[in-house]
Symmetry: C3
Subunit: 509 residues, 3 copies
């Protein structure tokens, strides 16, 4: 322990020296010879001792070895920075701790004074925008950036959230549902969708360097894709480019998307692993180059990951663009196979709370399957987006094969929608017979079977079909076996509840 | 876009030049110095631009760097080609696009004229046979090669298929089952078993090179192991050696088998991952040599993958053969732990539709567990096959350990069969009491519980035991917990249906 | 085959030569130049031919290249041997076959004469202790070392074991539970917990070298963490350091822990994979150094594996100790999130059979959630252990972030405990109304739902929260969706059973 105190003293001195160095604007260098600002040097002096993991991680990053000025000189296709210029003070330095954590201090309610520097706890898309302007602009319009609002401000989805993750009590045999706590929301829905992080004054913490006063953040840590930040921005670039290496390799590997796109509701990663694409990825990814920009089909990789199909900048081996980079994650998608409760064209706006279907509900389809077309992209936009995706597919496959694949997907969407309709008819029977109460459609026995039909099983079959095949998944695991069995179970449950009800009314007589 | 047209023009010219080159039989070379036929050069000239992914994939393959003539000079154990000779015209060239896609044109209903060449869309086992004669011959007798027939021409299994993946409608509260569509069959059962690919004339497609006329294939793309091809052959070598690198590495890695051998019905990959073998594979495979032929135990790999135990040519580090290569996937298997509904000796023929049990059903055991022995391998053949597998096991483990392991498996087969019998007795009670209708044994509540008992849970426990251990899987995940719980659920369902029936008949009086 | 006999003869001669070499104490060398004892040379002479896999595996191990004497010269932090000295006869030789398999022969009931040498079949912790004294001592007090006793000698848990994995028969429609067989116990619970291995005399086996007489071991092979060995010791170091490379790399990779810590009861690996830690591990582990001792945060690895958080010796890049190595696997844990049936402070003793709760049951909490505090660690010990873990966390994360994380975990424990209490109230209703029989609380319909509530779903949510996030797992997969649905199902089952019972008593009148 005493060894630590000696180290602390040393760190303090180093930090003070770095501060004075900062005053004189003397430049020192990163391992690669890239200059680090004196402010970031000061950060590193202490944090190399106290949080060495993130310091080493940053030191291995591109940010540590590449200045914005160096990036601006690269050919268009090779550049990762989309801003045409950066403020002079950043241009010739590594992108270090202070450069990111000191942006836009006035907007940041989490800005505080830390060992002589004013810094923000969180770095947000609005901060990253200084260099990554285009990506932030694209992202801002996505469903991802609207992910909290979509979930909590749509009364239908909010009812599903509460019914699912709200705590329950049992008194006299009766189950009562309470509102979900922030803690559990962060563990579950908002773990992916993002929490609202607010600053509740300051709090004292005891560290190995002694007591410190730091902003008291609510609902944190969290890296959800729609996180509401203390500067008013939405999202977290670290959802996919985790700190502090902000690696393009990590974002391109399927494990990143797989943190959220998982069974049973969105089994994208599960079905990918069962597909030929997934097999080839797992078998051969050690030979791929996940850091190359642009990403060359056949040379840098032989089978797509999530990023390859959905958002990376792809070129042929000789540099012809196959698909532009996009951080608008719906821009290569025409149909939304995540049924609510049926598959439907992608919504026009990332803010889906504005949608109203013919029944007045904020859902993209009615319970009978009619799409709220006014709020959904039209045929032409669908064709445009499918065209971009087909461009990706045909970089390895023939046009005829790709078209057959998408025709199969159309058929699968129709068939799974029909299975949802079949379940909805049974659900209606239960509601009509007053066996369950439609006012909350998400909290009773038959209702939960119905939810599983569209949220788990129909979705699973569509994902399996779309992502080029996961036959066992679509057959037995969470697919047709369950789609069929759920109808049988709903029928049984209706019969049971009707029998019980009849018995009760007979007894009542 | 205009850039593309310039590229198209260039490609056309290159292709024409290649054609004229073909006429003069001038040889050019692959990256490795291996000559490529002029016909294949013509393919590559265009496809390097339009489908660069597969061209690069092929260029990284052994086919691109090794001529049949070179292969024929290798020592027996190192050779991957089993044909003793090949036609003169192939001998001194890389195995390129045209060499494979132009074989046996008269047999191929999918043969068509494409930019001046007659080619087949599909390459089938009958084409691969030119060089890989022995493998194709072995494969032809397997259950895999018979996989469509087994499923669709056995009325019992076909009824299960229809009940599971046939679409359902609900009218007046009644569920009606329809025949499964080809599209859904391809998404599910036939995704693994293989579809029947037929040619429905030609169709026009619009590509970046303009409109083209190509064969209109049904039920395609598909890579199922028993695929029926337009030349009348069965299977697809690309099921496990995916195009266009046809890599032995991919086939030897477990992800390939894992595309189909998955929970809940055949959880081979799931239990492998939980086993010590799987742990060692995942921890150390980066040190293994997956390309070496023969595959040397201890030197090239330290723990088996699926291929290691089931079909690769294995030798000791100094080259003594431990097990011969086989593409007859049952040849190291004595007992079939995939219960139908009970475990049983492996069938004699890969075409299991010929089996009749004592009750006249096309099943390898009766509902009470009696094997249809006439159609199953005898004790002596079982011992022979087990002997081959033991040879593999004892290359790392002592004889005593291996024997104890197989004794445990015997016990597990007996016990899980007893659990299936227990469920079948309950099933019989339900059928006898007319609570459910035996004429289709796969579509009602209690029947579906019974199916899960043998198809999901008993199978899972046997796979876990056979593949050296997946305790959590066999205990809780899909094993004994479920085997036991299913009996309880069947009992409850019988009581409920009997009560309901009694109530109805009381009401009827 | 005849080739084998020539090889056998050669091996025999080599073995005899090695024996005579042994007599003259002549030293020969391993590949690295490390001397191998003549006895081990004799082993290798034959086994390189007959079980080449394990010989090659050992030859790649540290044991083959590093003598105890060499190890003793290493700086403390780099040494893997904890014994301060070793017997002279081992000091200057590689740690070979004979060195390990000949230890403590008098204690080993599995000691036998094999080709002229007396060896033990099993190598046990008591043998490994010669060099790894401290690790064995730490391990001896863990729940792992007590794992068989905990399961089979606690009547409550034993009843759960029997109900779950005991075979069932159905006679006249009635389900009868039998005791679980040793074979099935080894397949399931004891696959992880460990079997009792006893010696039942000798048995003859037929090997390629001819007939041999070897100890007849029961319940073997098995590598469970609490295995009872024929020398009276408990555990198997090979559970995590599998033979015969005994690799620290394997033990540090998550696949090792994942052999047992899996869904649905202990889904540590499942939730790790969904977490940011797991994502980074899977994306970047090819860059990590899994063999370095000590294990340097940020330099050797960028994200923890199970071992990193729970037991490895961790230092900063410049060698300051962050956490000491421990093989007492509870020593960084304060709360036991594996609920029995509620979360509770870690037990004081690894032998949990001594615990009695206020109701007299051998459980750490009562059915209403009161902890058996006398047997559980107190607040101060909890803080101490949490302090060690926080030391690990803060090597990458800020103190404020770490504290917020643990506060969320506290909240999650409270909420999931409340969901278990809700289920227990319904369970009590069912027991009170005599719908099910409490004497065995683990074998009926409602009881099984109740078990799933605490053993599967509450545990899953806690693991997801503790291990930094697996939102989909905690929401839908095996978490809150199921926690809520199970209450609904319990309510339905109570109503159904009550109705049935009322109907029966009405009929009886």
């Amino acid at each position: 322990m005493s060894r630590f105190f000696i180290r602390i003293a040393f760190a303090m001195i180093t930090a003070l020296m770095a501060q004075s160095a900062a005053a004189s604007s003397k430049q020192t260098e990163a391992a690669s010879g890239t200059a680090i600002t004196p402010e970031s040097q000061a950060c590193i002096a202490c944090h190399a001792i106290y949080t060495p993991g993130i310091v080493k991680d940053w030191q291995s990053s591109r940010h540590a070895h590449f200045t914005p000025a160096m990036s601006l000189k690269l050919p268009d296709l090779e550049r990762r920075m989309s801003a045409p210029t950066v403020p002079e003070r950043y241009a010739k330095f590594a992108v270090g701790c202070y450069e990111c954590h000191s942006q836009n201090p006035d907007a940041h309610k989490d800005n505080f004074k830390h060992n002589g520097y004013r810094i923000n706890v969180l770095v947000t898309p609005n901060d990253c925008k200084t260099c990554h302007e285009k990506e932030v602009a694209q992202y801002a319009h996505t469903k991802k950036a609207n992910a909290i609002k979509i979930l909590l401000e749509n009364p239908v989805y909010h009812a599903l959230v509460k019914s699912t993750v709200g705590s329950k009590t049992v008194e006299n045999g009766k189950i009562t549902v309470m509102n979900a706590t922030n803690s559990t929301l962060n563990d579950t829905c908002l773990g992916c969708h993002g929490t609202k992080i607010e600053v509740n004054g300051m709090k004292k913490i005891t560290t190995r360097l002694g007591d410190m006063s730091v902003p008291n953040l609510t609902n944190w840590p969290n890296n959800g894709v729609g996180r509401e930040n203390p500067d008013g921005s939405f999202g977290s670039c670290a959802s996919c480019h985790p700190r502090h290496s902000f690696s393009i390799e990590v974002a391109r590997k399927p494990y990143t998307c797989a943190q959220c796109h998982l069974e049973p509701d969105v089994p994208a990663y599960n079905v990918y692993k069962e597909s030929k694409h997934g097999n080839l990825y797992e078998s051969l990814y050690h030979e791929f180059n996940f850091k190359a920009v642009p990403w060359k089909v056949g040379t840098d990789f032989k089978t797509p990951t999530c990023a390859g199909c959905h958002n990376s900048l792809l070129t042929t081996p000789d540099g012809a663009v196959i698909a532009e980079r996009t951080h608008d994650f719906g821009s290569r998608l025409w149909v939304r196979i995540f049924g609510l409760p049926y598959s439907h064209p992608q919504p026009k706006s990332g803010d889906t709370t504005i949608i109203r279907n013919r029944d007045g509900l904020p859902l993209p389809t009615t319970f009978t399957g009619e799409p709220a077309s006014e709020y959904l992209i039209d045929k032409r936009e669908q064709e445009k987006r499918q065209g971009i995706m087909k461009g990706v597919c045909t970089s390895c496959h023939t046009t005829a094969m790709v078209e057959s694949h998408f025709e199969k997907l159309d058929s699968t969407n129709r068939e799974t929608d029909a299975m949802v309709l079949a379940a909805t008819k049974l659900m209606s029977e239960a509601w009509d017979k007053k066996l369950e109460d439609k006012s909350n459609p998400f909290d009773e026995t038959i209702e939960k079977l119905w939810i599983k039909q569209w949220l788990f099983y129909a979705n699973s079959v569509r994902y399996a079909s779309a992502m080029t095949g996961a036959p066992d998944y679509a057959a037995f695991k969470n697919g047709w076996w369950e789609l069929s069995d759920t109808l049988t179970k709903m029928r049984d449950a209706i019969d049971f509840k009707a029998f019980l009800k009849a018995g009760e009314s007979a007894t009542a007589k």
